[in-house]
Amino acid sequence: MHTPKKPKLLITPVLRFLVLWVVLFILTGCQGAQKLRDAQNAFNEGARLENELMFKSAFKQYGLNVNDQNVIGAPSVGRPEPHYAAALEILQSIGDAGNAELEKDRLLGTKITLEALCQWKLGRGTQAISLAETALDHLDAENEPRDWVIAQALPALVISDEAYARIPNVFTGKDQSKFDDIENRLLTADRSAKTYIDKATGRAKDRPIEIWLLQVELSLYSSWLKARSNILGERELPEKEKGLLIGKCERLETIGKRYAHEDQKKAAKELADGWRETIFGTINP
């Protein structure tokens, strides 16, 4: 019978060798993935800045202070667009070989989704939608659930932004056809923003990404309300939509609390209240 023994003295040089080998493996074999990570970092920075600007202006309005000291990515100066542009540039620098490597590693769908998000944020809606469609060819709802939901919802983001741009900031006289056009784009047409959100919701339900998707949907209705007010001159919220939107805000609060950490639960409530104020003008609709 063989007696096992531990050659302790040999462990250190062996471990050193192993670490070196592992690092070499990662450095030489994952250049596409590395660039994707760099692009993710740049995009996240831009998105943090954008969200921060949105929250700051909104909550200061309510008399609440957003804690400047705790803002991620401080110092919070500048605009988000340069970060999106940087992310896009990094992604586009990944050549055919890099893309092939990403495809082999099942990362190509993730990469194209991010590229689509960048194009959207830089105002190139057509490219963004085209990329999102391509991304879906490389994504699997089961294995890449977040990216699949984003790619599925991306046309809604583009359409929403385009519709928002068509809404005047002040009421200049009733224009029914103009309102109908915007309403179609946002909510009612066959390929309205809402239809894309509905498609994505099935996979997002009861997941953290539902928080984002709910807010996208609330954004659509917020723009729709703005259009009603500034194009039709109607500020009142119809009862049918009122019930629907109260439910969406409640869902946002519930799901936010469920998936948030303990110290984020308060933020989940504040976020839901922020949307209530946006739509109903009160946290007690």
């Binding site: 063989h2 096992p4 023994k5 040999l10 040089p13 062996v14 060798f17 192993l18 080998w21 592992v22 493996f25 074999g29 993935a33 990570r37 993710q40 998105a47 954008e50 969200n51 929250f55 909550f59 309005q61 309510y62 008399g63 957003v66 804690n67 803002v71 990362l107 993730t110 944020k121 089961e142 890449e144 977040r146 990216d147 984003i150 929403s160 932004d161 741009a165 990404i209 984002w212 807010q215 996208v216 954004s219 917020s222 723009s223 703005k226 948030a260 308060k266 933020a267 989940a268 504040e270 976020l271 104020e277 946006t278 739509i279 109903f280 003008g281 009160t282 946290i283 007690n284 609709p285």
Partner: protein, 602 residues
Amino acid sequence: MISTEVILFAIRAGVHLGQEARQAYIDGTKRRELVLPLPKVDFGANVDSAWRFFQNQGKEFVNAENLRLLLLHKRATDRTLTAAEEKEYLELRRFFDAILSARRNNHNVMLQENQRIDANELTALITVKQWEKDDPAAPKTLHRFAGTIIELGIDYFAGGPGTIQLDSREGKLIAGFVEALDNIEFADILVAEHAFEKLIGQFFVAALETLSTQPEFVSSDDNVKDLVKVTTCGLAKDLQIKLKALEGDSFQTMRLEAWGEWVFRSLLSSAGRHVVEHPSRFLGVKGEPEGALITRVGTAVIDLAITNQQIELKRVFSRRGLDEVMRASLHVVADYPELVLGDDPNKGLRGLVAGVASSVSQFDAQLISPDIAPELLRIVLDKTAVNLPLFWPDLDPDKHLLLTAGQTVLKILSAKPPAGAKWKLRFRAEDLVTVTDTVVDELAENPTWLLSIAEDADKYLVTALEATLSVLRNRADERLSLDIAVAVLNTAIKAVATDVKFLNKAPDGKPLVAAVIDLVFAAIFKPDLGAEHRRAQWLLVQASTIDFMLNTILLRFAESPMDEESLKAVKQQIKKAAENAAAGNPINWQEFDQTLAEALQP
């Protein structure tokens, strides 16, 4: 100085780990969180939403008491607010909405100065990872590495890197072992990572120890790989389900982990050869997952930890004993798979194991060594395999004839001697096992008798044992050793099993078997013998003498009418033999047998 073998080992290990590390890096990239922006939107209260508030919930405030608000609201309706008025209008909205909130909360409003919202927390709400924590699709880095770590660990530590040659016998053994472990779908095991890590660590150590202490067991045979695979994977999954159910109960969790590891070791080391030699029985059960028999035997034993919360398992089951139980269990389930594959887990092997552990633990603690329960189980299981339908008709542990007989033996023999008993020695654990073995043997070898007494087997056994033991307690003294007493009990049991008429009553009310033994012991342990008879007593009290005399007498008695006259004849012959011995003559047992046979002739 690093040897060539170490360098080669490091290269091989480096390649393995490098590949896994790269894949982990890829998974990590896919998993990374993404901060998601929203479409363009006017987030926050605005003139429109403020107007809606004052038209609806805040309508009551728009009155003559709040003239300023009345004015501003009118202008908002007319869309004629200036920028400064818009700001004031929004401030009033906030003010009156706060009043509304206070009312709804019965004015129980927490006052906070410099109320702050952490932007980190808001951002975190729209920062989304690819997979949520418990998403089954999410690759687990630990899982990805687990197989490799185990592989490298076995390779490196099992024999030292210099000794492993892939084409050597040892190398093949290890390769088989590693391949089996590597085949486990770790990601299938949906558990909290720390629990999984701990469990796999325990299994890893157990597997290493099995390999190092029993290299002859692990062969390059493919069936070994299957055995390790199904045992590790099956038990790990099963244990995790049970651990999950125990969440929040740390004590029971730790207990189950420890016991589960013990069972895993036992299954691997004790049952290995058995399974490997009969792969079609254990690894190819139709309609069941591979290795269901092996895993469920393990599960039946693991379940002890759950079903018997009060029993200290390691007191009832020694490691060696557990191995015996495993062997015996696998042996019996090979012929009778229904013992573990039935729908009701409380019936069959699990119920039997739990029943034995539970009943054994109720006996006098001084008597219960960690070998009693496993031995009882082994004895019962071994004999069960002879004829399951007869001994255990509906797999209900309470109706297992052999088990109930065994429990009866334990109960009677472990009882304290009654007050006033002359012979006060207490039986040892091994004595209980020996007598149980005899009882079970006799029952198994005489199925006709068993059938004839059917459900009364237990009652007959009690009668025979209690009566015999009573004779020993009342007639014998300290000269009667435990070995002789056990031999007498075994002889009595065999006699009753051979002829049930031995349980008929003698004139003094004792069963005949006890009456005959009483005659023998009355002669041997007669209290008032004179000095001249002491030599005779010394001769008679020897173990071989008692054993031979009792066997001879019971045999001849069975051939007699077994009545009062027969008893008198026996008494006469014993007296003659004792007188002969007292006279200084050696006892001629052949002559004794002959004379007895003649005297007992009908």
